[in-house]
Symmetry: C2
Subunit: 418 residues, 2 copies
């Protein structure tokens, strides 16, 4: 079969799986998840051996140590995958809830019922744990998945998917609930993205390049974030000790994440006092600072920030510092350079706190908190499938609810349109 | 300036307008809407004269009488446009509402605030009233619009937009809140659809061809419905008088609409009794029936339905009839031929009513009601910007709330990530 026909056949299997999964009760879905966790633990030796083949090939191809680390499975990571499935069992099932049911003047009842989206394609890079994690969240919300992982992980992913499908069948569900595009051919992704009407949603997980390629080629809605260029704005009436603690935490607690701070914005009246303190604390933590001319006049040890630097998601211990003219200056900077991810103001002033919260356009807007708290677990959503920086359907951390949609339900007694 | 630069400039003006409009209170937005209504009434003579030029050109080009009717303005239609703006004033403003605010274990408060989407492009055909109607709904929800109407209506649209922009400025808002792609060049639409990051959402309004072209070319999320192929399923335990009333209403009350019934599905045990009755009623109303072999064996005057007929949105008094084997047969037919718009079951059986409501995948699922009731006004949403048959963001009739999104807001006291 050609690649087009193959991809279509897999997606149609998922569509059949989705129809059956959409009717399944929480009990049945939870039984499937528990069977998956058990299956992963029992198959650990086979998974490690499949993964070894991927890792050997990756070393031979000269992939970076960071990529090889992401690709590598070990007994601890397999146990984490299994435990992750069990955590999803514990989350409440969003499907079936009816909200806003009202009686209309003609007597009919109208409300909205939360239902699965249908078939979700997950396109990801070389981390095999995504195979289990993403499947678990989609399945709990009643969706079938079409998985397409990076070609470097194909042996690992094939082995994991086989375990998941056996578990699905044991729970009495259609195997199409979990499907896998088992080819390294890059054309397969392009074909997936044309299958409007079969695949309902695409979630790409990986670097900006992967995500841009998906958006450019997709006729199917995509939930995504390109990058996180997050700011902390230290207002003229900030508690400067709190500001320093938040800035250091937002940058240093885990710099490789999308919710870390990339640029510190400091209100001019407090720059002279705050910048020497915070720079010393950041430099002591190993952070390399680039600043605007005003920042460098206060802290001459900073490098020089060029305009292009303000667009960069560093993902490491580099960051920018800019002195701004009040909250207007901060909001203008964020509107220009921000990525709609997470923005935080540090202030004791009520009016500016409220204005920042209302007017800043981002998935998460914070007052007096570290941007690193922008996260599904921290917000109480349970596990998250990703963070969306678009504005449609979901914004910010996406949990189970964001993997569902709502249909209208009408309960009548023979009502007609007048 | 080339077309690309022109379209980009218009969209950037809208983006600037959106930032200011997003901060505006309901009072200011309502004042703008009232000024718009007043402006349209006062400019009636100028609008009619601009419209006359369009209508003359359309007649000269030999457009169909139906198209010319949709294009034509008269004093009554201008008054309806103005009154429509005033109706939107009366609707509650969804912007600013915070829901689900909870305190997390570390003491920070996390909730979701409803905010405008930003810049919305409306791409439509030759009905100039859409210019005012769509603008009003977008503006009330805090969004700037980029309007692109059919080239046949360009003089009418230009004149209407001029009135709306004068009113916007009078209310003290940025004129970019209402922008118009003032060129008949078809390339302009393609350029609009590339402006990811400037335009946040595209809503095409028109025939299936227009909508498919938009989806194929857009990198921006699109809210749409291609067509409405709606079904009424008459279950073996239906009240047959109610079933007949609903079927006649669903087909005949206004057959040119997307929520009219296209195919009647009749459960086999009641087909012999029900089909002669309903056929007579439908035929008396001028409906032309095409049936499956079983239907024609009962009512020989029906034409023969081919498989392709079941995919057709007739938009007139033609329809299909099919005898099915129970609700499983009905649900299989709907899954295959339905357009995810509106589906209705007529039954007295509790179990089948509940199963149909849960399991049928459509934007609206009804029990004992006419599909013609699938509508924003009927559901109590107020005016609607359209009906979505996709599953992301909005499903079914879209009112003001569907023209907004929700961001996370976090109110902290210095919380850090541990």
């Amino acid at each position: 079969m050609d690649i087009k026909g193959f991809v279509r056949q897999v997606a149609l299997e998922a569509k059949a799986g989705a129809r059956e999964l959409g009717r399944a009760t929480s009990n049945v879905k939870n039984a499937a998840l528990l069977a998956m966790a058990k299956g992963l633990r029992e198959a650990a030796a086979a998974l490690l051996s499949a993964n070894e083949a991927d890792v050997k090939a990756a070393i031979a191809k000269g992939l970076s140590p960071a990529m090889i680390d992401r690709l590598t499975l070990n007994p601890k990571r397999i146990e984490e995958m299994a435990a992750g499935l069990e955590e999803v069992v514990a989350l409440p099932d969003p499907v079936g809830e009816i909200t806003g049911m009202v009686q209309r003047p003609n007597g009919m009842m109208v409300g909205r019922m939360r239902v699965p989206i249908g078939v979700i394609a997950i396109i990801y890079e070389s981390r095999p744990n995504v195979t289990a994690d993403a499947t678990a969240l989609c399945l709990k919300a009643g969706n079938a998945v079409v998985l397409r992982g990076g070609s470097e992980a194909i042996n690992s992913n094939r082995a994991i998917v086989e375990v998941l499908r056996v578990a699905i069948a044991k729970a009495g569900l259609h195997k199409g609930a979990v499907t896998f595009i088992d080819t390294p051919d890059r054309e397969a992704v392009k074909e997936m993205l044309q299958l409007e009407g079969i695949i309902d949603l695409v979630i790409p997980r990986g670097g900006e390049g992967l995500i841009r390629a998906v958006v450019e080629n997709s006729r199917i809605p995509v939930l995504k974030h390109y990058k996180g260029v997050c700011h902390v704005f230290v207002d003229r009436e900030a508690d400067l000790q709190m500001a320093q603690d938040v800035v250091v935490n937002a940058k240093c607690q885990r710099p490789g994440t999308c919710n870390s701070m990339e640029t510190l914005l400091v209100d001019e009246p407090v720059a002279g006092e705050f910048l020497p303190l915070v720079s010393a604390a950041l430099q002591a933590a190993g952070v390399q600072l680039k600043g605007c001319a005003k920042s460098r006049a206060i802290v001459p040890s900073m490098g020089e920030a060029m305009e292009a630097d303000y667009y960069v998601e560093h993902l490491d211990l580099r960051m920018n510092v800019k002195v701004v003219d009040g909250m207007e200056g901060a909001m203008d900077h964020i509107a220009q350079y921000g990525s709609l991810h997470t923005e935080s103001i540090i202030t004791k002033d009520y009016g500016r706190a409220m204005r920042f919260m209302r007017e800043v356009d981002a998935a998460s807007v914070m007052v007096n908190a570290s941007t690193r708290l922008s996260d599904g677990h921290q917000y109480g959503l349970g596990a998250e499938i990703g963070i969306a920086t678009d504005k449609l359907h979901a914004r910010g951390p996406m949990g189970l609810e964001e993997l569902t949609c709502r249909k209208f339900v009408v309960l009548g007694t023979g009502q007609l349109r007048q």
